[in-house]
Every structure is written in C-alpha cells, then in structure tokens.
Point group: C3
C-alpha cells in the first residue's frame, strides 16, 4: 500500500471545528472554497470528545464534521485522536501518565502525555482507533488514516522499566551478552539479575541531563527501546484500523530531524510518510531541503506528504517572526520539489484559547478573507489547482547519497569525549549544504540502504558503523565511486564499544589513514587549514584528529599547534574509486571545497552551482516527464541561463537551453523539460 490516490496535490490541513460553534463551520467551508482547499485533517485531538468516559463513545460531533466536509467535497485525513489522552483516563488509570527523566510522575496535562508501555493506554488507544475506523472506513471522503500525533518524548516509569527488561531479554538472550555489550565490568556494574536493570535517567546513570550518562550502552538501548515502544503504539492502532479498513493508507506525522524517534525503524510500518515542517527561525534553506530528503528516504524515494506547515507565524518559540511575503509559497514549492505530494497547513482556523491561540492560521479570529495570509494561501491554492497532478508519484533522480543514522546521532551526542560541542545535525547540515549549493540532487538514506546506484556516498559523523556497512562502502569505492567520511566516524560498534583497532576502525582501510590522537578546543578557536595547495585557507574547529596517512594523499593540512603540517583532509585511492576523509570541523568554505572535489571527480556538475541561494531540484514522473524546480531563496530577483529547455508550468512561459530565465525574489519556476 502506498500514498492516497488524489486527483492533484492535496491542499488544506488541520481542521478542528469542534472548537467552534457549528454556525462557524459554514463560514469555514465558504473560505475553503475560496482558497481551493480540498483536504482536511480532522480529529487529531478528539479523544475527550469521542470517548467522554471509559465505556462511552460519542461520535455525534465528529459525524457532523465529516458530513459537512463531505457535503462540500473535501477529502479527509481522519485521525484516531490519540495524540493526547483525556483527563478522565488519567484519573481512572494513573498508569497512563508519564514519569519524566527526573523521575517525576506526571499528572494530567499537556499532550504527548501517555506512557507508551501502559497496558491501559495500549488497550484503550487501540480500541478507539478501531472504533473510529469501524465508523468511518466506508466514508468515501476518508482517504487516509492519521494515527496519534507527532510521536515523541519518553517515559521512565516502572511499566517502562519492566518493558525495557523484556525488550533487553529479547535482544540479548543472556545477561552475559548484555554485560558484555554494556561493558559492565566498568564501575562494578555487572548485572546478575534482569530485575536489577533500571531505565537510565537522572535517578540512575545520568547527570547534567539526558546526554550525560555513565553507560552509553544502557542509554543507547533505552533510546532504541523507547522508539520501539512508541512504534508498537502506532502498530497497535494500525492493526485495529486494519480490521475495519483494509485498503485506506495509514500514516502518522513525523517531524523531520527529530532525535528521539528512529524513523528508519518506523518507516516499514507506515503506508506512506508524512511530516510537519517548522524550520528554525534562522535556518538556511538547506535545512528544510535536507529534512524533506530525509523523509523521502524513509520509503525508498517514494513521495511523502507535507502534513503540516505554518501559514505564517508560529507561537511556540520565544520569538515568533512573521513569514515574509512569498516565503510560505516558496517553502510549499520547495516541499513539492523534494517529493511532497501534498501541501497542508496547521491550521485552518485559529484557536481562540490556550497555547496555540496566537499560532498563525489560514483564517484568523476575525474570520477574514482579506488578510495577507489568506490571500497568499488562496493564491497558492489556485496555483496548485493549475499545476494539477503532473508531479504525483514523481521520483528524484539522485546520484549522491548522504547517510543519516539515528544510532550515530545518539551515540555521538551521548559520548563522553572528545567534545560535547560537536552536534550531529551540525555536521550533517554542513555536508548537505555543500551538496545543495552545488546544485545536485541528493538522497538521504539509512545506513541499510542499497548503495549500489550511487556515484557518491557522504557519511558525516557516522559515529557508529554496524553490520556490513564498511564492506558496502568499500564496494562503492571499489567500483569507482567516492565515499566521504568525517571526523568522529567509525568510532564505535553497534553496542557503542570502541573498535579494537586504529581509528577509524572498519573504515581505516578504505580511508587509508590511522588516527592515534585527537585534540579538542572551544568553539571560538580555529586552527587554519590549507586546502588546494594553500590556495584556500579555511579553519578547523572543535575536534582536530591527528592523521597518519597509511597510503592516503594529503589534500589539506593544519597550520598551527604541534600538529601543524599534518593532514586535515585526505583522499585514498581504493579500487577504481576513492575514500575521502575530513578529520576536523571545517568551516563551510572548506567543506564546500572538499565536496566540490568529490563531485568533480564524477562530473556531477550540478545546476547553477555559483548561485548559492538558487535551489534546483528534479523530479521524474511515472510517465517519464521530467520536472525541474528552480527556487530563489533570495529576496532579490536573479537571472540565470536555462540548463534545459522546457515550459514553466506556473506561467506557461517556455525556455530554450541557455536562454536567460529570471526568477523574482523568493520566486519559483517549475519547468517541464522538453
């Protein structure tokens, strides 16, 4: 099963009319029509509404919402409503609330508030999902099921402790295997009974928060376990749905680069991927591009849905800037360019009260259709209507893969030494951005992905190397490809134990280097690095691996400290290809230079590589139609020569190769290539 079948890119989003008197609903649909909104996500937080008591279900309001939507021809993504549990549940069954990292048992409040290992929660959430599916499975407007909402957080209660022990027994079989994996001879931690094991928290192995642990192995397994436990919640509900609805696709809304949940482990259980894009205020455009590519990579390159984005300002941040004119449209097309087959918002009409009442919505508290926000939404709706179904199901023709690995993320950031200042996303974003600015299409894939189709594989901060990955990376190089790895890669095995070998462990042969020592410094310190034979001087920061080449060529060298003159960047001939290694946190220009060297080796020129804010992205439709998306992230217009002939599907203009093509500030072109 795959994505919902739709006649064009679905447009709309979260709709919570239960917050409003029914007379307002009519206004809503009038405005939806005006904005070409055809798809509504309904019921995300309705548990208290649809099940007001343990033995009472009441679908009256939801029925009317669905009926009203159907009457207006909307399609519905119907939520099970289990993203927050109701107050009566917490009171009747205190086990359903979470115990936090500090050991505090919570009472009723907020959302994301359910213990994933509570049998009561599991039973009742699945029951509700089943009831919802049973009642609405045959309503033609329902095109997808939406389970829960933005799964995340963690719980540390006794039910979770018991669940953790069960999970560990299944994983390790014996305490001897567990003691070995966790290296428990250290600090007298040998476990002699499964029941001695506690969740790693502020009350046990941690100090200074979730990233400081005495036992990385325990913490790592708890992260895996908690991700799996929530996945089981999802699967509980999905199974209940499937009993009544065998054919309608099921999803839940992911959150892009969200650390607590290993989406790669979840992906096989979703019929299609979807996610909520809320780029940080100061994010570079490549932040969203990477996130989209990561989400697309969950289902082997199949399109995903943009399930939420803000029409304008957020409210949840300390400072919530308004989206500038054109930005929302630009970001919407960026999503489509990277594989989104839906453009949805949170939310349709602003809440009057509580913590999201100032969160920007398509319709504001005054219900106006003459605000800038509404006008921009409506214009995009019309544009998407004109755009039609051409991009649905289209794939990205990437020759470059970037490995993204939750295990490495976790292991790197809970590591004691060499530097707490190194953050996984920072490293990944630096390399992704260099590729993005070079104008090439990129697949962001798990370490288990098939790498045989790529010319270039980039592995930033691949701290943990598991299974046969090293061999598969060697194979890439052996057949003529390039593998690029960075500092702090290949430091630990699947259990977070160091390899009994020179650093970088199983990548040592491919990289042709050996590392005995590494320095670390505060973030404001830079050690100059010479690249390109000294033509480019950049800076190394944070961690400085001292590299002894074992066959590799030196591409760049440190210029200061006792290791001045030693390599910072190397390239090793391996088979018909190369292993490339960057032993430090290079400034962006240094990363850019290195990445361009790699791409040039493969003639992967990219489009418009001298336009750092002009994004290009290609999609190839099932019928072979090639689409080229050009997105100008600058506020000023720019003109470039067309790299292909084609027709701009947004304006009807046609271009021949080499002809000047102008983009407005924050402008978008979608060329159907000739």
């Amino acid at each position: 099963m795959t994505l919902p079948a739709t006649p064009r890119t679905p447009f709309g989003g979260d709709y919570n009319p239960e917050q409003w008197p029914e007379q307002v609903w009519k206004d809503d649909h009038r405005l939806f029509d005006a904005a070409r909104i055809d798809t509504l996500t309904v019921g995300v937080f309705t548990w208290a509404l649809t099940q007001p008591a343990e033995d009472t279900y009441d679908f009256g309001i939801l029925d009317r919402i669905v009926t009203e939507a159907e009457a207006h021809g909307r399609r519905i993504v119907l939520a099970t409503g289990t993203g927050a549990h109701p107050a009566w549940l917490a009171r009747a069954h205190p086990e359903v609330t979470r115990t936090d990292f500090e050991g505090r048992k919570h009472r009723y409040g907020q959302r994301h508030n359910s213990c994933p290992n509570s049998p009561v929660f599991r039973r009742l959430s699945a029951a509700l999902a089943g009831r919802v599916a049973e009642r609405y499975a045959h309503r033609p407007a329902v095109i997808a099921w939406h389970i829960g909402n933005e799964y995340g957080g963690a719980c540390y209660c006794d039910l979770c402790a018991a669940g953790f022990r069960t999970w560990l027994r299944e994983k390790y079989g014996t305490l001897a295997a567990l003691n070995s994996a966790w290296y428990t001879t250290f600090w007298s931690h040998t476990f002699h009974d499964w029941d001695e094991i506690e969740p790693p928290s502020a009350l046990t192995e941690h100090w200074r928060g979730p990233d400081h642990t005495a036992f990385q192995g325990i913490t790592l397994d708890y992260l895996r376990f908690m991700s799996d436990a929530m996945l089981r919640n999802f699967r509980d509900e999905k199974a209940a749905i499937r009993r009544h609805s065998p054919d309608t696709p099921v999803t839940t809304n992911f959150m892009g680069m969200y650390r607590p949940i290993d989406y790669h482990r979840w992906a096989p259980h979703l019929d299609f991927a979807s996610w909520d894009a809320y780029p940080p205020e100061d994010a570079h455009p490549s932040w969203a591009a990477l996130s989209h590519d990561l989400m697309r990579g969950l289902k082997a390159g199949r399109p995903f849905w943009l399930m939420e984005q803000a029409p304008t300002t957020t409210a949840c941040r300390d400072v919530n800037p308004v989206k500038r004119p054109g930005v929302m449209r630009l970001h919407s097309w960026q999503a489509v360019a990277h594989g989104a087959d839906a453009v949805l918002y949170f939310q349709m009409r602003a809440s009057r009260g509580a913590s999201e009442k100032l969160f920007g919505a398509v319709i504001n508290h005054a219900g106006r259709d003459d605000t800038r926000v509404f006008r921009e939404v409506a214009a995009l709706g019309a544009e998407l209507e004109r755009f039609g179904p051409v991009a649905l199901g289209a794939r990205t023709p990437a020759r470059v893969a970037l490995l993204f690995d939750w295990d490495s993320w976790w292991a790197l950031e809970i590591s004691d030494g060499p530097s707490r200042l190194v953050r996984y996303q920072h490293v990944v974003l630096g390399y992704y951005r260099a590729l993005w600015e070079a104008g090439v299409d990129i697949d962001v894939v798990p370490v288990t992905a098939d790498l045989t189709g790529y010319d270039v594989v980039v592995a930033p901060a691949l701290h943990m190397v598991k299974g046969d990955l090293a061999q598969r990376l060697e194979a890439v190089a052996r057949r003529g490809g390039s593998v690029l790895a960075t500092y702090l890669s290949a430091r630990v095995d699947e259990d977070d134990n160091a390899f009994l070998a020179d650093v970088p462990g199983p990548l040592g042969r491919l990289m042709g280097i050996r590392i005995d020592e590494w320095d670390a410094r505060e973030a404001d310190f830079g050690n100059p690095v010479h690249l390109a034979g000294g033509q480019l001087e950049t800076a190394a920061r944070l961690v400085f691996e001292i590299i002894t080449p074992q066959g590799a060529d030196v591409l760049g060298t440190y210029q200061a400290d006792f290791y001045a003159g030693t390599p910072a960047v190397t390239r090793n001939a391996f088979g018909a290809g190369h292993g490339w290694y960057v032993g430090t946190d290079l400034d962006q220009d240094g990363i850019d230079w290195t990445v361009r060297q790699v791409l040039d080796t493969h003639g992967l020129a990219g489009r418009h590589r001298d336009q750092p804010l002009l994004e290009s992205a290609a999609r190839v439709a099932p019928d072979g139609t090639r689409l080229l998306f050009l997105l100008n992230h600058a506020a000023d217009p720019l003109t470039v020569p067309a790299t292909t002939g084609g027709t701009d599907l947004l304006t009807g203009e046609t271009f021949t190769t080499g002809e000047p093509i102008t983009l407005d500030g924050r402008g978008v072109r979608v060329l159907r290539e000739n």
Copy 2:
C-alpha cells in the same frame, strides 16, 4: 478605618530584640533616642517564640519587648508572627509545608513556608493572631497590627488542588462554563468531572517553568486562586484580631510590583497599605516612584506606609552595593513625596547569624553610633522631626492615570507568542518613566478605577480587557481626554480567549486601527521608526504590529522590512478627544516623544521637564496646604527656576516664582507653596 493616627511621620522599623540578650535592649533604646526613632515593628518572626508547642503560648519575651518599648515612648506596629511557621508545627502537621511547582513536598525550612490552604495552618495562625490581639490590644503603644509578612509564593499540594476545585466551582458553577472558559476542546482537555482538574505545574500543564503552560486559562485561574487563598489567610487573622481589637488599623507589608499577588484584590481588606521598597540595583528612579504610586493607588489615593527599606546594603542579591551617601535620605523623601506617611527600615540592629547577618542595619554588630549609616539615619530622624505632621494625609493631585493590571501582567507573560521577550514591567516602566520625566503627577490605578477625573489615561500592555473597561476608556476620549494604548493590548478577554474581532478587539473603535499581523525579532534588532515627520528617528523592537488605519492618523512609521512605511504610532480622533496607539516596543526616546504629544494636547506641561533626573511631586494636605517635593537624583547639584513661590520646610528658605532654586547632588527640597 484608615491609617494609624500619629503626631508626625513615624520613623523606625523592624526590631527583633528577641535575637539578642536583654542587656543589649538598653543600648538599642539609647541609640533610638539619638536617631529620633519613635516607631518599631515588633514580632514579625516570633511564632516559635510565642507558641513553643501546639498547646503552649509564652508571651514572656514579647511582653518585655513591648514594655521596654513603651517605657521609652515608642509606638509599636505589632506583628502576629505568622510569616514563618515553627519547626514543631511542620513536624506535628506535615500538611502545613508547601509542595512546590516541581511537585516536591517540602519539609521544614525557610520562611513563606505555609500552605495557604492547610486547615491546620489556617486554624493555628488565626488562633495565634487572636491571642496576640487579645493580649496587646489595649496597650496604648500598639498603633497598628501587622499580619504575616510579605505574602507570596505558591503551593501545589493536594489541599491546594482541592481548594482550587472549590474555588472553580464557585466561579464557574458548571463544568460546561469552565470548559468553555479554558477552551478545553483544544488538545482533548474537556473535563467531565471536577476532580479531574489538577493545579497547573511542572507535573501537569507546564514545561520550562511557570510561564510556559499548555492552557493559559488554567494557569491564570490558579494565579488568581493562589492570590485569593493567601488573602483568605490574611482575612482569617484579621477576623481573629477584630474580635479583640475593633479599632486599631490592620495592614500587611506588600512588595510593590510583585507579580504573584494581585494587590488590587487585596486592597479592600487592608485598613491601610504598606510596602517594602528594595529597588533593584540598576533601577531608574522612576522604578520606585511607580511602585509608590501603585501602592498609593491601592486605597484610592490615600497615603501608605513605607514599611521597610534598607538603611544601606542588602545581602540577598548576588552583588550587594552599598548605598551612596545621601541616597537613603533621597529615597526616604521620595517615598514621602509619593504618599508615604511613614519611613521605616529593615532593620534596627543587624542579626548575628543566618542569611541576613550581612544585611545593612541601623545599628551594626559592633553596636556603634559613629558609622556613616547611623549618622545618616539620625540626621534623617532629626529632619523628619522638624518636618512634623504637615504631610500626613496629603493627597496627590494627578490629572494622569496609568492603568496597572495583574491579570494583564499574568496573561501577557504566560502567553505563547508572539514574543517571550516582552515583559509587562518593561512596558509599564517605559511609559511611566516618560510621564515621570515630563514632571507630571501620576495616579497608578486598577482597571476598575473611576477614570472620570483624568485628562489622560495610559494603558501600557493592557493585554486583557475586562468588563466595561473599553466603554469607560471610550468615555474618557469622548469627553476630550486622551487614551494611550500599546502593542499587545486588548488581545484577550477575562478568560484569556482571543476576541473574535480584529485586533485590538474592544479598543479597535477607539484607536481607529486594525491589526492582522505582527512580526517579532530578537532583542538586539531594531527597526527604525520615524516620528514627528521624520525629525526624530528612534527604533522599534521585539514586536512589530502591522497596523491598517481605520480612520486613525499616522504619527510614526516603520522604516525597514516589508512593512516599511506602515504605521507604528497612530492617533485617532474620537469624540472630543483621542485614542493613541503605539504598535511596537519603542526605544525610550520614542516613548518620550509620544507621551509629550499626549500631554501637550492637554497642556499638562509638568514641572522641570527638561531635567531628566529632577523629580517633582505634589501633595495637598487635608487643610489645603500644597507641598512641592523636588528631588535631585543626580550626583551633581543643579539649579532651576522655582515654578511656585514657597518655603523649603527642610531649611526654612523661601523662594518666589522664577527665582533660582539650587539642589545639592541627591538633594531634596520640600516647598510649602505660598
């Protein structure tokens, strides 16, 4: 009932001789005589002393303290001693200690340590207050009762939860009304039983501390409830006192701009207001002026008592500077200028031990009378003695009112969006300071105050607009007055729900504007604003409301970003007067300019408006005597022309209108106008 009757401004303060051997008391009184100290606050922390066990009272030491004070002719403000409970009480009745916001049940320690909803605490504190009143009501030295001490903090225990539910039942009557007020359809929060409701805390609705809540309505009601609960504690004790002392005025010491307690709800229950002034280290002189005016406004303009101030250094801050020579005198006269009918210190003799042993006192550990502090205190005592009773009961003749509203304070600072950087006091202080520097007298009043007597009403950050306030503000303008409001005003109703109207909701008609969007930026960003047709350039910060005039004139415009050229400051003709609106956080010079425009409209010139550190304040005595206080907050002397003829009551010098009048650095003049 109103203030204690005294022959002149009472002078003295907190006196805790129970900390010292009795032989020291003789020294104390000798030094009090030397400093003209005639009033002592006694017994503030004596619960453990006067009630050493639940069934034992022992007033032996307190008797001797009172007798000794009487013997020396002092007047006494007698405290009930319930500001901190004794250790035996916590051990015998653990319910009396508080549970904090983090859910931690406290054990015995500190002060402000009693659960306000503990029946045991309520019973025993009232019983002690009654005992104290019974024993000392007829002692002629006792001129006032002082209940508790600096009420504040909060508790989140199960007794408070139960009390909260009772309070909610009384307020809302039905769960339907409560669910509507709290907007509980959001995030599946509909309550089906009163007992499902929990205090909003780190264990329920909050994250990142007391200001981050999922449900503003719940948090807001808990703030109101907790303020009311402590008020009930005060009333418990007052009722017990009244059974034995029908005529002696009762107060408790407030803390000025103290967020947790809504002093406006308390004020009717006090016979007179009093407060403890500890200006922050870096505070502008208008900080204390505003606080005094706020305290004076509690009882409709009647004088208040300055119950505590530090003779010199504090000890409770991270860094505790010494008060420079003359500063303590200047601050004392500033209090009198703003309506204080008493000048009292904390404290008379320094504690030897514990956390206030380095807090500056009138008499130091060595018992000296030749320290700078003692000399300055004694000089002020002599000065006040000469000053006599002339100011007692005098009123401030203000034409300008500034609205101060605890509900708006709370609602603004717990709001998600648009910016956590906006702080209520910052906005209020900016507008108060502009008025203060203009040299006009100001009443700081609750939103329920009678506004019919004012020419100008300033409403900074009036986030919540309740009841008929909008109509009353319109009436001010209709009859020719000016109403000045700012960004983030009139955003929510009494329940913290957004108005279903254009921003600024019920103030829209008066202001003649409409606001669809607002931007927000980090604090270091400034958008230039042109005022006075471009003659003045200032900066807008934090929040940038995008204003569409609906009849208002534009007084100032943003100069940058996509909303460059749109209004930042507007004035709307309304009836015979105007509504003025400032849609952003202007730098002080921009506020100053705007406020001067308003004042000039009404010919409210103010005195010495070009002397930014020269404070002027007027008081009119019951017999019609007009006093003009001039206070030079600069370290250097200055000379200005007298704006009125009169006699300086501190020196006997006389001045005619226009004659140069010189003030020393940190100097004070009190002119009795001719």
Copy 3:
C-alpha cells in the same frame, strides 16, 4: 605508619584487566616492561566481581590479576573495590542508594552512589574490605591498601537525617546550644525537639542550589557532618583491613582542592596522602603547585603519592584537549618537585565502553606501543628509573605558609552578602600564584598548623576565625613575622555568627584597622587602586571594604567613588613584625606587588622571580641532599643563571653558581645541589 617502602619512585597506575579477556593481560605486561611500569593500582571497581551476591565472594579473577602482576615483578596498590556498589546491593537493600539535594531518591547507577549513613553499606563495605585484606595481606606485591575511590558527593536521605541529629547531639549536647549556634530566633526557627531538624536541602532551607541557604549554620554543620560520615566509611574499612594487615599502609585517593570533603579532618586517619591531579584545562601552573602543596600539608609535609593523572586527554569535560608534547612529563616532575613520591596514571589500558572509553590511556584500544602517548610514558619511565630513590622522603624547606581552611571555604561561599561572585579558590589562587611567581617554597597548611617556624603567613579569604588562631597569628607578627590577610577575612566565628566587634573581628588588633562598610560591584567593574605611592595602578574588584586605619599605614588607596582616597591596602606594625591587609579583590599585579613587599621585608627573595613561567621548588632528602627542581612551563626555551651549583640528575650535566642554565620548552632540570 607512613608511606610504602619502595626502591624508587613508583611508576604505573590504575589497571583494570577484569575488563579484558585474559589473553590481553600478557600484552599488557609486555608493554609495562617496555615502559618501566612497576606499580599497579588494582581492583578499584571490583565489588560486583568479587561479591556477585550478598553471601557469595569470588576472588578468582582478582587472584589471577594479582598473580600475573606478581609474576612480572609489579608492586600492587590493592583497592577494596567499594568506590561503587553493585546492582544487586541496590536491589536487595534500597537504603544504600543516595537521596540527592533535590530530595530525589536515586536508584542504581553511576559510582559514588552509596549513602554513607546506610548501616547496610557500612556493614557490607567493611566486610568486603576485610575479606580482601584477609586474602591478600600476605602477598608480597601488595605494598598499600586503597580504600574506596575519590570520596565525595552527599546524601540527604532519612538515614542521613537521623545520623545528622546524632552528630548534632554529640556536638552541641543541648538544643539550647544548637539554637544559639544556629541563631534560630531568626525566622522563627527555634527547635524544640531534635527530631524537628532536617538536612538542609532544596526541600528545606535552600533555594537556587547548595550555596543559597536560609541558615548558614545548619548548612555548615551538614557539610561537616557529611565529610565526617564519609570519613567514618573510610575508617570502617580501615579497621577491617587492620584486623588482617597490621603493617601495610592505607590510603584513599583525594582530589586536591575538592570542596565537599575537609581533607584536614581526614588526614590523621590516612597512613599517607595520595591524590588525583586533573588540572582544569585553562589552569595556570600554580593551580597544580598549590594542590600538591595542599596535599603535602595534610601530613605535616611528608611526601604524598600522585595516585592518578591523565597520560593525555581526559573525556569527562565538555571539551577535552590533548596534552601537548612534553606536558605530561612536565606535570609529572612538577608533582615530584612538590613532594610526590609516586607518579601514577589513570589508566593503563583504555576501556572499550562506557563513559571513559575515550579517556586517554597509556595503551590505546589498538594496543599500540608506537603512539606518542606510549612513547612519552616509556621515556618518563626510563627517566624515573635513572633518577632512582634520591627524592624519596624528601621535605620542602618552606619559610612561607598559606592557610587553607575548608570551613572558611564553605562559610564564604554560602554567605548571603556581600557578593556571590567571590569564590574562595579564586582568592587563594591569586595569593598562591604571587608567591609561586616569586619563586619561594610554600607550605599550604590548615589553620591548626604550628606556625612558629614561618616568616610569613598568608591568610586569603580566611572568612572564619576559630579557636586561638588570632592569638597565634599575632604571635607570628610579634616575633617579627608577617601576617597577610584579605577582604572578607575574620567575619564569622566557628558557628558562622558575626563577631560582636568591628570588622575584621579578632584580626582587628593585628591589622590595625576598622571596617564599617563594604561596597560590591559586578565583575566587570574596576575601581583603580594606587600602590607604591601611585607608581603602580591596578584595579580593585568585586568587594570594596572601606577601611578606617586604627594605627595601620596606608599602602594603597581607591581612586574612585565616594571612598576615593581611602585605604585599599594597609600594613600595621605589630610587635617586631606586621599585619598586612588587602581590603578588596586586587588584580593579579596588585597582589604581586603586595606579596613582594611582604617577602622583601623578610629577604625572601625567591629564585628566578623575574621568570613568571619558570617554576622552582626545593626538596631536602632525609640524608640532607638538596634537590632543586626547575620547570619551564613555557613552550619556548629559556636560559637563567644557576642560583646554586649542582648536577642535573636527568642529564648528568653540572653547573656552577651563576653559570647559564638552559631549559627546553616545557623542560625540566633536577639539580642535586653541591
């Protein structure tokens, strides 16, 4: 009993082969031979290994470790293994885990995890120590017993509360005495029953962490109690060892300037002192010098052992720089120069897993002997072997004493007022560094030390003055010596109550001054101070005592604020000597000038006082041999004239007095004086 008898400076360190397969042990010993490693600390974290259940002991692996070490001729420091308890113990007896300052009962995890007042922990830890001693006492390789590991932390459980009350009864006898000492009339705290007393924590007297307390006296006594409770743990184990091993010296590894434990109270119970040196990343060389001198002072100047140091990088810090070439050697010799009779590392072979896997070790994960670290270790091993036994037992011939006092440290840093910015170590380090740069030898001693042999006694931030210390300091001056004290000295008595006298209390007569007031400012503010008649301008910071001389001469004056022209530095003639006083936090150059004045008074010229990074230290061996250590902490070489003739024991070179002697960057010379 004193230090272990060894033929030369022991070299080696922590060795945890239980973490590795036994085949690796052979490699270890081969590498130890290569590096001249002769001493191993074994068994530090072996509780779970040697006692896998409450009634089961299993010394099989430890036997083999000891046997293998003996077979290779190593000496062994054998640990009892109680530095971390096993998981089974926490599960069987939850009382053994700690309750933290926040009131959270911990479960199993980490290390330093035992409640010191748990009867179960006390019984079982002593039992294990006895078993270990019984089994290994007669193994000739065992030259010392090592109890626990880096004692520290604190517990706040009910067992500790009960223990605290017992400790208080023993100290005070009566509640009246306790109430007086704690000054409990303040804030109604009078205790009427011992059981009313609670440990001072976040649930009782504290807010904003361990340094903010309402009652300094309570917090101070809890710090003393907790230090004593852990000392009792040490003594429990030592007593158990002594039943089987009457003659082998016993130690535990201290941590230098470690606030929670009063090592002066512990010192009499150790047979010899040892410590773990991990200088902060940015520490000046005098940091380690002071720490070594403090450790040497624990046992009246007898040598100590350097029990741990990092061969290269740490892993426990946010940023872990690598030790530059030569630094580890330099620091090792610095330890020896200051009295270390052993040079040991943590650790011999790197852990594969958990939180120290990236902590630098002598042997890395790859087991290499050709790393820079291993080569430097081996070179030092060879050097120490050549050096032989000449320094063993040697003493430091100091004429200058610096008083170091845990009670003052605690009292100063928990004080409310005048400034939280003053930190005890900062003050002590400033004065120590001035002495160190002057090139004199220094004893760092407790306040109870015999002061009769010193010319100069420096007392930085001696906040608390106890017993007859003031008289003994007066005696130093009376016989011609100098006593130098600083701001915030002599403020409180043993109970943290202020002296009923002018500041500086019992030091007032010696210093010839009186202080009525003190100012405080933020750290970035500096008040200029003129010294040397204005020839030197330095800055005063943080706290500014306003000094009225009572006979003292003025050596330096403030230049700004209302106290401009008043003394900042004074010298008072007293008997044949002087009391020197510095009333503020002088910048280092001001401290340097003042300290040089004092030293010059006594002709204590010091060696190489114009070479700020050239450290000199003398030791005199039991046979009278004088050793002069010269250590160049700069990266560049330098040449100085020899201040004495002698032979460099590291190179065999000989020098005559005045002859140029050159040191490499980070170079070391050890001259056996002629």
